[in-house]
């Protein structure tokens, strides 16, 4: 399965009336997770988060594609 770059945030527990709501919920969750952390602590949080999510995805072909796309701009 290729990397999904289409909008994919969803919330099976709740009916949403706007297509941006679930994505905005995630974004707020992410930013809130960093509240009160200094730069080093934030970098660690990001690292742990990436590792957790990468393991959840598992499929190396997907992860390779994501790494490639993420590097593209630098």
């Amino acid at each position: 399965m290729p990397l999904n770059v289409q909008p994919n945030f969803h919330d099976p527990d709740r009916r949403r009336f706007r297509d941006y709501s679930a994505g905005d919920d995630f974004y707020e969750l992410l930013i809130e997770a960093h509240r009160g952390l200094d730069e080093a602590q934030s970098a660690k949080l990001n690292a742990r988060l990436i590792l957790l999510l990468a393991n959840h995805i598992g499929d190396l072909s997907v992860l390779r594609e994501a790494v490639e796309l993420a590097r593209e701009r630098d």
Partner: protein
Amino acid sequence: MGESLRGSSPHAAHRPKFAYRRPPELGAAAAVRHPVVVVGAGPVGLAAAIDCRLKGLPVVLLDEDDIVSIGSRGLCYAKRSLEILDRLGCGDPVCAKGVNWNVGRTFFHEREIYRFDLVPEPDHKRPGMVNLQQYYIEEYEVERAQAVGVDLRWKNRVVGVDPHADHVRLDVETPDGRYAIEAQWLIVADGARSPLRRLLGLDVEGKVFRDRFLIADVVMAADFPAERWFWFDPPFHPGQSVLLHRQADNVWRIDFQLGWDADPDAEKRPERVIPRIRAMLGDDREFELDWVSVYTFQCRRMAKFRHGRVLFIGDAAHQVSPFGARGANSGFQDVDNLAWKLQLVATGRAPDRLLDTYSEERVAAADENILNSTRSTDFITPKSGMSRVFRDAVLELAERHDFARRLVNSGRLSMPTVYEDSALNTRDTDAFAGAMVPGAPAADAPLEEDDWLIDELGGRFQLLLFVDHAGELPRPVVDALAVLDRLPIPVESIVIARHAGGAVANTRVLVDAKGVAAERYDGRSGTVYLIRPDQHVAARWRRFDLASIRAALGRATGHDAEV
């Protein structure tokens, strides 16, 4: 707040003065009691006065000034507001004068990262969004208010308020002196700083954003397209955001984020503003500065919008950041929600607690608006280093990836609130697909003969009966419709037939020739919807049942039992 820079500006030219008249109560021995008094003739207060008047309630409207608003204020009016203004009888001039726009372009640094086209879903009477200076809307509303018999009192400033169990007493100052007036119901629409809220000692809670924004309205003859342009961190205004929007009469709204440390007085000076705009336009095109102001904003609301006989609407009750155009648009929805409830309670046809549901439903709406506008603000003005890193990463990815475009948040444009958890709703017992859940605002649909469903709805309780052919309604159902029409709170029935032909005694038949209504309401033959006077869905069923409809009507009007 702001100051006008040019005496000859279009803003100044569009400021009709309204005539003050000596109030009849001045010098009277006893205070006269009026059924409804509205304080504040802004767009929301005017709408409330018109709506109450249309529902047969006599209305006095007090305003401390005698002109429409000046300068840069409300700008974007969403589809739902246009539908409400249509119901009030002022939608046409707003749409005729307003600027229609669909394209939004988003820039990051020096590049355009994507554009969206709001190309409206077809088959709605009104577009998604119309831009128009607030003073035009107020002018149209004043005309309408006069036409429907609102007692408009300019230069009448409320200086004292004294709430009682069955009325509210107001002390009013005029150029000819003071007088007292009593209101059975008082609607407070006197804006974000609400002097009445203060006089009553009521709080409004929430957060102030530590940021400043510069608004500049400029007049340009040049042919800039009618699009919404939003810049994140542009080269001509590093580290901040900028928004460009078109209004009527070749006036353009430009919004510069300044940061908290900016000096508002210095930033307002033309010698500061003009180079900023020149850098933004990137060439030497002609423009005239029409209006400049610097503002900060808050996201906050009152704990409840009803206090006995005092009802707060619009900015007096709740305030949001401007991103998403959720200010005036939510104020119009307040009016929409309040007027029919006040009519039923004031005329003794519904219990007093129906007015509590005004507060409950609109507090939920205010929370949704505050949440969305706070999120937009946090995205536009990141509050921490990491927050900025993520924001910029979203913008970079948005140039190529759809998922990131959806995360870009430069304002989630106002949509009407679905009163999903309202106590007035009757829960579905049958299965339905689609968005027309109980609590949702009724969707529009085109009908035969250039008619629109939305124009047929509102102002009273209505029952929509979906059928294939009008003739197929069984006799007992037709008889029951007559019963509904004679209830103390009458329910008007409308048959929506998929195909033309056939009639129903004493009942309007609308033909859904394109099938759009049936699709939007998941309205296969036999389906029944109960619609509130504010065009929100109260209940729906797959088959007609008189007892269920009466129970739902009772529930939707705050009664314990059927009506």
